[in-house]
């Protein structure tokens, strides 16, 4: 049934007929386009031209448009090229296509040096905007927090508990596993290198200080930023996309109070708990390796640990946790609420949420290190 399309030229006295035959459909589009381009060269000739489509076996939008394209380019001034032999089936399709205006020029952006410089400039200026956005959100969350303190009935306990389960309880296995393994690795590396100086036992000092002050909380914060920060951004972002946040607003609810505050609170409560569990798991892992690999038996390990660390180390570590949680939460919520209509935008903001979250966690850790050093803790 499908036959190759053809466009034959038949001279009829003073006029030239272009006889289209065969199947004029999308599957033959490349052939058709070439034929039409060839025939277009006839424009400007002396004869009047008409296009005879009576022999066309099958026509679809592609074919109809190409015939229309040919007709347009053969039409000059007042002399219009005619389409002849149109069957009733296809005449409405050709009429439909005839209404189409010429294609508007598609603007394509070209990469120029000034364009690139402009982008860099905009990105730098955007940093200020990011910081302002974070401070804005911090203010909004604190204001919502105070409102809830004054009217405790506005507090969303169920939501907070739900997010606690998601962020804290369900994160316990993976956090404990990873910090346990990190504890093992620190101890193994420590023993391996300290052994050369006969200082095996100092691995306990290193492990205790490192885990309680820095690694425990930092590692857990990074994992929470990746695990829960991204989830917050994706949740809020898809709610934004589906106008759920606008719906809340029109019902007289404050999205910050309903959505952001419970999530922030859950995260601020969860991170110290997770950091504590993580530190314990890392110490346990380190102790296990010290015993099995380094020959430091558990009693000696515990004695040494008691001497090496004080409660200060633990406090220094755990105090950082809620602050880091707040930073992660604010970054995640700001990014979530900044999502625009498309799936691509959701992806970009979720990536930004994790990257910025981890960046700010490390910056905060540095600030804390300077602070604790200067107060002598």
């Amino acid at each position: 049934m499908n036959s190759d399309p053809k466009l034959e030229r038949i001279a009829k006295g003073n006029a030239l007929a272009l006889c289209a035959t065969g199947t004029w459909t999308a599957s033959f589009a490349p052939v058709l386009e070439r034929m039409v381009a060839d025939a277009e060269k006839l424009a400007g000739g002396p004869q009047s031209i008409f296009i005879d489509v009576s022999e066309v076996a099958k026509l679809d939008t592609f074919g109809a448009w190409l015939i229309e394209r040919l007709r347009r380019s053969l039409t000059q001034g007042a002399v219009e090229a005619q389409i002849a032999g149109l069957s009733a089936n296809y005449s409405s399709l050709v009429d439909e296509v005839r209404r189409v205006r010429a294609t508007p020029v598609v603007e394509t952006s070209t990469i120029t040096i000034t364009g690139m410089l402009e982008q860099i400039g905009r990105a730098v200026a955007g940093v200020g905007g990011t910081v302002a956005g974070l401070i804005d959100m911090l203010g909004a969350v604190l204001a919502a927090g105070f409102r809830v303190l004054i009217h405790p009935r506005a507090f969303r306990l169920t939501s907070t508990v739900h997010h606690m389960e998601q962020v804290c309880w369900r994160a316990v296995p993976i956090i404990v596993l990873i910090t346990f393994l990190i504890g093992c690795i620190i101890a193994q590396q420590g023993i391996f290198h300290f052994r050369r100086f006969g200082a095996d036992i100092f691995v306990v000092d290193m492990l205790g200080v490192l885990v309680l002050r820095e690694i425990g909380v930092l590692l857990v914060a990074i994992m929470v930023a990746g695990r829960s920060g991204s989830a917050y951004t994706a949740e809020l972002g898809s709610m934004k996309m589906r106008e759920e946040i606008d719906a809340l607003r029109t019902m007289g609810f404050d999205p910050i109070e309903v959505l952001v505050l419970p999530r922030m609170l859950a995260l601020v409560l969860a991170l110290p708990i997770l950091a504590f569990l993580g530190a314990m798991a890392a110490l346990y892992g380190g102790g296990l390796v010290a015993w099995l690999y380094g020959g430091v038996d558990p009693e000696a390990f515990l004695l040494r640990l008691r001497d090496a660390i004080s409660i200060d180390h633990f406090i220094v570590g755990i105090v950082k946790a809620p602050v880091m949680a707040a930073v992660i939460g604010i970054v995640a919520c700001v990014e979530g609420l900044a999502v625009q209509g498309s799936a691509e935008s959701l992806g970009q903001h979720t990536t930004a949420s994790v990257v910025k979250g981890i960046f700010f966690v490390i910056v905060m850790d540095g600030v804390f290190a300077i602070f604790f050093a200067s107060i002598g803790m």
Binding site: P30, S342, A343
Partner: protein, 256 residues
């Protein structure tokens, strides 16, 4: 191909679809004939969308067979199935436009996959399709999030039509449109059906659509087709739901 003309374009036999313990479709039979606009109605939650999604292969069925264009979709090879998919277009209830692509890219997406067509022709055909569905060419460079609900439906229809399919599935095409917009849309479906020789499978709730656009109506209830026929047959039916649907207050308003 000759047999296809006599045989129905869609032939559904003894379809059963189950979600957990609930049986949504229970031994359902349905034929859709070439060149007709079939309106598919039924109470909310009766499984209209489920049937549509089952036919296009998005929902697995427990039993039964589906033939589209004379090809049994269960026993067909991948290339046969591809061929069938190339010949149908689907308009989803929410439009389902790709949100990170512009309108132009959305409409050209199936063309790029299935056809070897120059960019110039694709652009021109895109404009033709936009004109056909009643949109201005300026819309082409917008993203779906910048369109109104009615425009999204129209662009989605243009995308469904981009390969010049023989069969289109429309899932509630007029829901969420204002009555004038909905009327235009019905008109549009009718015009396109005439110009392109389409077969249309339309799930709808809109009585106006049933009266103005559809050649035949099938009614779904209790997981089966409880009635199928012309609008006059529906009005004559004694089935309680049909009586309520076609003789209720709104139906009288539409008919008068």
């Amino acid at each position: 191909m000759a047999g296809e003309i006599q045989n129905p374009i869609i032939r559904v036999r003894d379809i059963t679809v189950q979600f957990g313990a609930t049986r949504v479709l229970d031994g359902l039979n349905l034929d859709v004939k070439r060149g007709e606009i079939l309106g598919f109605v039924g109470p909310s939650g009766a499984g209209k969308s489920v049937l549509t999604r089952t036919i296009i292969g998005l929902v697995p069925k427990v039993a039964g067979s589906i033939e589209v264009f004379g090809v049994d979709l269960d026993s067909s090879s991948t290339s046969q199935r591809r061929n069938v998919e190339r010949r149908w277009g689907v308009l989803f209830q929410q439009g389902a436009l790709f949100s990170s692509l512009t309108v132009r890219q959305n409409i050209q997406f199936p063309m790029r996959e299935y056809l070897r067509v120059s960019q110039r022709l694709m652009d021109e055909i895109t404009m033709a399709k936009l004109t056909m569905v009643g949109l201005k060419p300026e819309v082409a460079e917008r993203f779906p999030s910048e369109l109104s609900g009615g425009m999204i439906k129209r662009v989605a229809l243009a995308r469904a039509l981009s390969l010049d399919p023989d069969l289109v599935f429309l899932d509630e095409p007029t829901s969420g449109l204002d009555p004038i917009g909905a009327g235009d849309f019905d008109e549009l479906v009718r015009t396109l059906q005439r110009t392109l020789g389409l077969t249309v499978f339309m799930v709808t709730h809109d009585l106006d659509s049933l009266y103005t656009a559809c050649d035949r109506i099938a009614v779904l209830g209790n997981g089966k087709i409880i009635a199928a026929g012309s609008i006059a047959d529906m009005q004559a039916s004694q089935h309680p739901w049909l009586r309520q649907y076609f003789h209720g207050k709104r139906a009288r308003a539409v008919m008068s």
